[in-house]
């Protein structure tokens, strides 16, 4: 693998909200991804790509080209399933997680996978050629300008995200493989909306703005330039910070795993959703998971109402409306007041 230097996550100036939501997803991948909304040039893509360095390693089935999770026998690709049924013992292999990009111009067959044409022509046999959804399995799937993605590609994503599997039944190929990914999308809201269904699939949402503090702005530029002129040196500078971040994330993950779900946060999550009239249960679920991840990231062993309140502004803004045209009603100040009243006593 050619190692092009990646700008270190810890070197990103400001954008605390965005960094937080990304880290929450690393702590608990089942939060369901992030939608980053904001104008161009606000380090959205830099942050997502930088995240790759902080991702944990994961156990996969050795030799499987779909990188099936090693301990999840319910979700195996057609090949692993066959092997398992023939009594083959699946071996473990540890690989790094990574960020897989879905380009806007991708064609349907490249996303979902298709018949391996060269194999078909040279041997006359049928074989499945994996697509981007296969690559994304167990990794982060990153879609820049997700609101400009073609409709039928969105359908594919939704289908895969709903099942955690990609089923291909096309042109004589019948194949399925796990497609379990953290979906991270960026968009500039002025260029169009996201379909509500896709919107609902994103666990958290964050709005980013360009850095306004002049001191920080200068920092942004300085760091970027010194990274571009001598990347090695720059990476050295941040090596310790990156290491510290990695170990903090590792601890948070293990805290998260052993954390009990308290009634307190369940109640808080449901009451907030009900108060805001959020339909569907994904909001509740995300609130609880994100609150726990937040507490874990903060080094605590349990989450409380305050944590739910902290993540509410990331988990709810995009789920506020029931219909594409009803106004988005998340009135942050109003919510704050209500929350204060409701939970301060």
């Amino acid at each position: 693998m050619s190692k092009r230097p990646v700008y270190p996550f810890t070197a990103i100036v400001g954008q605390e909200d965005m960094k937080e939501v990304l880290l929450l997803n690393v702590v608990n991948p089942s939060i369901g991804g992030v939608l980053i909304r904001g104008e161009k040039g606000t380090a959205k893509s830099t942050a997502v790509r930088a995240l790759a360095e902080l991702l944990p390693a994961r156990d996969v089935v050795r030799g499987c080209k779909f990188q099936c999770a090693w301990n999840d026998n319910d979700r195996l690709c057609s090949e692993c399933r066959e092997a398992l049924s023939e009594g083959v013992v699946l071996e473990k292999e540890t690989v790094a997680m990574r960020v897989v990009e879905l380009p806007l111009c991708a064609t349907e067959d490249r996303v979902a996978g298709t018949l391996d044409i060269s194999h078909a022509i040279s041997t006359g046999g049928k074989r499945f050629e994996p697509g981007i959804l296969a690559e994304a399995n167990g990794n982060i799937l990153y879609v820049d300008e997700v609101n400009l993605l073609d409709d039928h590609l969105v359908d594919l994503l939704l289908d895969a995200a709903a099942m955690g599997m990609n089923f291909v039944e096309r042109e004589g190929v019948s194949f399925s493989h796990p497609a379990n990914f953290i979906l991270i999308g960026t968009m500039n809201p002025e260029e169009g909306d996201l379909r509500p269904q896709l919107l609902d699939r994103f666990g958290l949402v964050v709005d980013v703005h360009g850095e306004r503090d002049p001191v920080n702005r200068v920092d942004v530029v300085k760091r970027r330039i010194s990274f571009e002129t001598s990347p090695e040196e720059f990476l050295d500078q941040f090596r310790d910070d990156q290491e510290a971040m990695r170990s903090r994330l590792g601890e948070a993950r293990s805290k998260m795993r052993s954390m009990e779900v308290s009634s307190e946060i369940l109640e808080a999550a449901v009451e907030i959703s009900l108060h805001l009239g959020v339909d569907g249960h994904r909001a509740d679920l995300t609130l609880v998971k994100a609150a726990m991840a937040w507490a874990a990231l903060d080094g605590r062993d349990g989450a409380d109402t305050d944590d739910v309140l902290k993540v509410a502004r990331m988990a709810l803004p995009h789920r506020m409306r029931r219909q594409p045209f009803e106004e988005s009603k998340l009135d942050i100040r109003g919510l704050d007041e209500w929350l204060q009243q409701r939970f301060s006593s």
Partner: protein
Amino acid sequence: MVAATVQLLRGTYPFTAVVGQDQVKKALLCAAISKEIRGVLITGSAGTAKSTVVRSLRSVMPGLRIHNLPLNVSEDRLVGGIDVDHAIKHGVKRYQAGILKEVDGGLLYLDEINLFEDHIVQRVLDVMEGGENRVEREGVSGTHECDFGLVGTMDPAEGAMSSHLLDRFDICVSMDSITDRDRRIEVLRRRLLHESSPDDLLTSHSDETLGLMEELEDAKDRLPCVIFPEAFYETVSLLTMEMGVQGHRGDMAVVRTAKALAALDGRDQVCLDDLQEAASMCLQHRRRDREEDPGGTPRTEEPSPDPSDEEDEGGDVWEPPQKDLGERPEREREDVFSIGDPFVVIDYLKPADRRMDMGKRRGKRGSSVRSELPGRCTSFRIPRGEVSDIALVPTLRAAAPYQVQRRRQDVAIVLEASDFREKVRMSKNSTTIMFLVDASGSMGARRRMVTVKGAILSLLKDAYQKRDSVGLMAFRKGSAELLLPPTKSVDLAYNRLREMPTGGRTPLALGLSKAAQLLSSDRIGDGGDMVMVIVSDGKANVPLDGGDAFADAMEVAAKVSALPIRFVVVDTGSGYPRIDRAQRLARALGGAYFRLEELNADRLAHSIRMTVHG
């Protein structure tokens, strides 16, 4: 026993752990025990656990195979086609069955059924109803029996299903949104438990699960013996007529469902409660607006031809119940009206326009068949003329049977010109719809603008579901203002519409020429369809330069009618006698003409009747 159950069901969410959703669960159980019930459709907004409840069915029917149909399924995999391997090896064409064969005896599940291509859903429904799959394609024919249950789920916000497809589902039920605090907490608790330790959730519900399993076995055995009392047939047909249901599918669905309900309840005879319950599952989605139902006999009494009466009935019927405070808005007064109630829009952009190339247009608006790139490949055909866009797989399939004869050393597959197949691509053409709205004072009279905004909102919603770009331009007070350049962001459009003020005079000619100019500029349209929807009463009163205002408008209309833009005029006039200016404008533009009322799908039949009788 418990451990064995947990082992058997590992990985599924227990059906009995689904909180609430009684009607949806009942409907699924009916379909699970009765092979007669054709199709269950479940609607609900995103994240209401639609697919969870469908997939959980397996936990109470361990033998049931639930086959998930992927959205991008191709027709050859669905129904089957030529067996390529066999063809290459033996040079003989043979039919190889597809998914419909695999699903025989099981349950076929279509998640997001409203996003599937119509021909796929149609095919699935045909096969389900006929009980066999008959295939004639790629030079092979095949037939096999095919008996399966069908469940579809959809989020109505992503677009509606056409009513003739809808009618073919026996049962249609919707997910309840759970607003009770404690029950919602329970939903969350169970979901989290399922994710962290699924076995625990299964264990805690194993008694209920085993109980239900037994009940279902029992109900299945009982079902063939369930009696449907003779007298109830009449009740059913009265019921369906009462509810304004067309056709007979509804009647049959009620009978079949009522029988299943009786069996589930452990009875050998259908009772009235079963009928009632079945009716609420089977008839809601087949209901037509009551007003469309002529009630058997045409009205004998003509409505009073009194003009004031007509005005009330024709114009104000669906104005929101806000009392006009008697004060007529003055000419130069400016108001910002709220947005009236939205409604379902008729297909007002049907390609009925003469200028449209009818041969090229097929199917739904918003999609067209074309052979050039780009677009999504939907099927293939034998090429006409030069081949440029080869459909490789179908080409290989076509060549397969001849490989035995053509066998050569250097290549594995020998292709000849006659094998070539090319792709048929379906592209969503991006329709750009520019709404040109008359925001002059006359529109403010009697709060007409509230209704008009409601109508525009409905049109915007329609545009959203069809993924069109929309723009908004308003003309008033001697100028035409672009409120929103064409965009796919309907939220923006909504906000601009809400803020749009009303008042002032009517520079119709100016608005028309500006909007046409904008639409024909290079930046917009992108080769897609362009439509201008003019919402006005046609009462122009600001001339371009001192002449007659309406004559000016007609002149501009004649000029812009030559542009490759489709025009739709929506007449907002409500008075009596109706002023035909908007209609004349539509004629001059060579476009379609609708009265505002006519856009409302539910009101259309009503308003046609009003036109006939009034």
